[in-house]
């Protein structure tokens, strides 16, 4: 980022060193902070995943005790969801949304600073529970009572950390909505917005709608545990199943919060490297909106086994399966965009293609899980683990990787090492399938989730999966190296980094100066922005 400071001259002098980053209100610098934080958390959460895979390498208890194993599964999920995936998307939004809509900065630069700087403290609190006498949370990231209420006092720290993460996300979402709705360049009508911006707009509304519900649910847990209420305590007239309803009312929109921005990224990259306009732009917008709407009425498919009446189970089953329709529209639109395009396969495109194929596998196993009778068998098995890792790792994370490769020349001003990027892609794609594909079979054979030991019949697939896990995990160090190398130098990047790229972000020089679009660009039918209307 050193290159960007040179362009700071026409604004007041920025503080240097650490206070520059602490006090920055610049959307690009805050975007960078988010992305660096997210990468750090990705490595922390990844290390936890490797503890899990090491323990599961062979049957029997070898490395860690069961309590610590449970802490690892819980913390891995919390760190990856709230620390890696969500901040990465918010970081990408910070960097790219103002550039894509022709705004000089985010709508609320100071709140932007605050919403980032809450996060390191939230995770310091969350991770510090690992060193407390009563240990980190060990009841799964869903924190179901009564189990989650039977831990020690460190539970209060977990709840507080989740509150902070929620506040950070809500402020980030408010900022993104205000930027998109009010700061667009003249002529940038809603239906001329890039797909990434559209998907983030809808995601931000989901965040504002459901993060407060999570805050309410965990506050109820807190008061149940420490202040004698009995929201979820049957002895006091409460109901633990109610927690599951409230949690998943948040939880299902949450999983779309983690995938809709990814859909946006893929919808940017595929047209660029196919050198064609995105097929079915308007249908993409409506598909995203339908997915967002449907996410509010399918939550109980996470809890088919609590014993709900047939009518309820059928409703949630059909509503869930309907989601495959808008999602299918998206996949077919991506394929149609590539159809007869002059495609090239640089690293961002490789990750985007990997996303389309592997995310679709995760989507299909999702449809299998939506079917009530089969879900009774798959519930809480490794089949579920395989499903959500296909949509989150080869879905969300692959899309984030694609986005980094796609936009990093714009951020640093240098091209990344294409050869290493391709090695990273192929290494990741092969190892991630070795890691997660066998877990489908483990689940179908009945291996339950969240256990440190298993029957010997599951030994082979677990061995394969662990080998894949270590290969994938250590492979990501190559990604860290590629990013560092690209920040340090490389081939100078042009303003329009990719010849097929369209959109306002490619009209500013690479690296993007600290301040862009001080005078808003004017967007018309025929200008640069129209990534979707012409090519």
């Amino acid at each position: 980022m050193t290159a960007t400071t040179a362009h700071d001259d026409h604004h007041h002098a920025a503080p240097k060193g650490i206070s520059r980053w602490l006090t920055t209100t610049n959307h690009k610098e805050i975007g960078t902070l988010y992305l660096v934080f997210s990468l750090a958390m990705f490595l922390v959460g990844g290390a936890m995943a490797l503890v899990i895979r090491a323990e599961l390498f062979a049957p029997g208890l070898h490395l860690v005790n069961p309590e610590f194993f449970n802490q690892m599964t819980t913390m891995h999920a919390l760190v990856m969801i709230f620390g890696a995936v969500m901040p990465a998307f918010v970081g990408l939004a910070n960097w790219m949304v103002p550039l894509m809509v022709g705004a000089p900065d985010m709508a609320l630069p100071r709140m932007n600073n605050w919403s980032f700087w809450i996060l390191p403290f939230a995770f310091l609190i969350l991770l510090s529970t690992l060193f407390m006498p009563s240990g980190a949370p060990a009841s799964g990231w869903t924190l179901y009572p009564p189990l989650s209420l039977q831990g020690g006092n460190s539970f209060a720290f977990v709840i507080f950390a989740i509150h902070l993460m929620g506040i950070s996300s809500i402020m980030g979402a408010i900022n993104i909505i205000a930027t998109i709705l009010n700061m667009r360049a003249p002529g940038m009508s809603l239906l001329r917005m890039p797909m990434f911006v559209w998907n983030w707009l809808i995601t931000a509304f989901l965040l504002i709608a459901v993060m407060p519900v999570l805050a309410g649910a965990v506050t109820m847990l807190l008061t149940d545990r420490f202040f004698g209420t009995s929201f979820f305590d049957a002895a006091g007239g409460g109901d633990p199943v109610m927690y599951q309803h409230i949690f998943w009312f948040f939880g299902h929109p949450e999983v779309y919060i983690m995938i809709l921005p990814a859909f946006g990224i893929i919808s940017e990259i595929i047209p660029t490297f196919s050198r064609k306009a995105l097929f079915g732009y308007t249908s993409m917008v409506y598909a995203t909106a339908s997915i967002a709407f449907l996410s509010f009425i399918v939550w109980a498919h996470h809890m088919f086994t609590v014993g709900m009446p047939l009518g309820g189970a059928l409703f949630f089953m059909y509503a869930t399966m309907i989601i495959a329709v808008p999602t299918g529209i998206k996949v077919f639109n991506w394929v149609a965009t590539m159809w007869r395009g002059s495609m090239t396969f640089e690293t961002p495109m490789l990750f985007a293609l990997g996303f389309v194929i592997l995310f679709t596998i995760g989507g299909l196993s999702g449809v299998m899980l939506a079917i009530v009778p089969t879900d009774f068998q798959y519930h809480d098995t490794y089949f579920v683990v395989a499903h959500f890792h296909y949509v989150l790792v080869t879905g969300a994370i692959f899309a984030i990787m694609a986005a980094v490769y796609y936009w990093i020349p714009k951020w640093t001003g240098y091209m990344y090492d294409e050869r290493l990027g391709k090695i990273h892609f192929w290494w990741s794609t092969i190892s991630v399938n070795v890691l997660f594909f066998p877990q489908h079979y483990l689940g179908l054979a009945g291996m339950p989730r969240r256990i440190p030991d298993y029957a010997v019949q599951f030994a082979e697939f677990n061995l394969i999966s662990s080998i894949g896990g270590f290969a994938f995990g250590f492979g990501q160090l190559l990604f860290v190296w590629i990013v560092i190398k690209c920040v340090r130098g490389g081939k100078q990047a042009e303003a329009r980094v990719w010849d097929g790229a369209r959109g306002l972000e490619w009209t500013v020089p690479s690296p993007a100066p600290l301040h862009t679009f001080d005078t808003p660009p004017v967007v018309t039918e025929n200008t640069e922005h129209s990534a979707y209307l012409q090519r």
Binding site: I208, G216, M220, A235, M242, H245, I246
Partner: protein, 188 residues
Amino acid sequence: MIAAEDQVKSTNAQTIGKLVVIAVLMFGFGYALVPLYDKFCEITGLGGRTGDQVAELSENQAVDPNRSVKVHFDSNINSQLPWDFEPAETFMEVKPGQMYETHYVARNRSSVPVVAQAVPSVAPGQAALYFNKTECFCFEEQLLMPGEAKEMPVRFFVDSKLPDKVDLITLSYIIYRNDEATSLASSK
């Protein structure tokens, strides 16, 4: 230019105001789900709720002499409660529309007075609406002195409108220690 910037600022303020209101309302909605859930369960009988209310046997219950339903009695004791707690009969054949009485037996195994509260649940959920208790030990707290045993009655009837496909109803109780009332009782 300055005017335009001010314009954007005030539009932003409006947008943010609205969004903050949505966030606050959704926090409230999370809490509103609690009474909504209770009401929903009460109306539909989901979650096996049988209601805390004393039911009355209405006059127009036509007893079908040819129909009989099996009622299964079940008991669970929370690990914090040093009691024995069992149904006197595990099964009973009942005719819908007719009143029956049975009892559970509880004994305090500890050396201190303990107050407990029983929470009923009926399975299957769709039968919960038709299972009525006119008298139940679960309607109030139960105090047992050290070593004391007690027969605790339940009077109930199954509504004759019970759907035909239900031929087995399980009435299950979990009995919990009531910490507050127990400490009051032992301080007396």
